[in-house]
Amino acid sequence: MRPIRLMIATVALVLAAMPVSAQWLRYPTAGIPRTADGKPDLLAPPPKTADGHIDITGLWRPAAALVADIAARLPPGSVPFQPWAEELYKQRRANNSKDDPTTNCIVGGVPRSDLVPYPFKILQVPGAVVILYEAVHSYRQIFTDGRALPDDPNPAWFGYSVGRWTNDAFVVESTGFNDNVWIDNNGKPATSALRVTERFRRQDFGHMDVEIMIDDPKAYTRPWTVTLPLALVPDSELLEYICNENNKYFEIIGK
């Protein structure tokens, strides 16, 4: 190849690469163990913090499609609805979830924000584990400083969360939700009696399970549990997601 052609080809390749490298979607993440060829070693042992706790830090995404139906992997009929909750769920199914709060750019909450197919970043800082959700540009604080859950909190979409470490898991308890939370896109209801327990267990560097227990005696006859697998997203980053920027949902459905 003549030098001038080589130069043009190189310039063309670099220009073609620019829109990608101009973001941080492909940027090496520090601290990831790598194989000899430089690829992230996602099967490497899970990391520990300096004080010996399980370290769940990182950029993660759901590795199973549970956002439509959180019970998709359970046997049919496993969700122990109270009669009114089952009736409401059937109505929401029949009208294609048209009144889903997230159509109005409201956050999913707990555990729904864990299910949405966008990445989230978990940070461990002194006294808290913080989750930055790309979806609807939202966050959660899980306090690990020993405080108790609040007694009579103002009801909230994400509720209030405290966390503690056990031998093999980081365990998060959350309460203080409002009565408007949907547990999944299909519209399984929840009430202010909802209590969610999430158990994060990291099997290796690149894989983690979250065992999610839904305990809402007003909406369900007994607690029930699902497991959400997560996959690490190496060498990438969160992107901005401002949902109110151009939400045309109501225009499209004709309201």
Binding site: A16, P19, V20, N96, P117, Y241, N247, I253
Partner: protein, 133 residues
Amino acid sequence: MRLLDSLVPLVVAVALTTPQIVSAHHSFAAEFDSSKVVTLTGSVTKVEWQNPHTFFYLDVKDDSGSVTNWSLELGSPNGLMRDGWTRTTLKIGDVVTVEGSQARTGKPIANARVVTLKATGQRLFAASSQTNP
């Protein structure tokens, strides 16, 4: 690094032709009727590269010669970027063919599943929420 840079366009080309499950925040079916399949060809008049969904607008001429400006919904810019799109993948004046599903209201609005660029024949998958209703 030179070698890595030269691989990036290849990666992008592969990503742009590989459909992925993306971005369903809420139900597709409340907005669009998957049985109302539309195939539309026209030129792009406007692109809104914004969340929660990218939209572009297409002037489509019918058999009688009258032109309708269609509104086409894609996935979020975030989902599209992870699939290899950029904000300049679709440009005003591009002639494209869209395969998608029309809004339940019957208005000239549709969710695009595949966009084919006339100039190159490239089929771009649209990070459609229909793949993950």
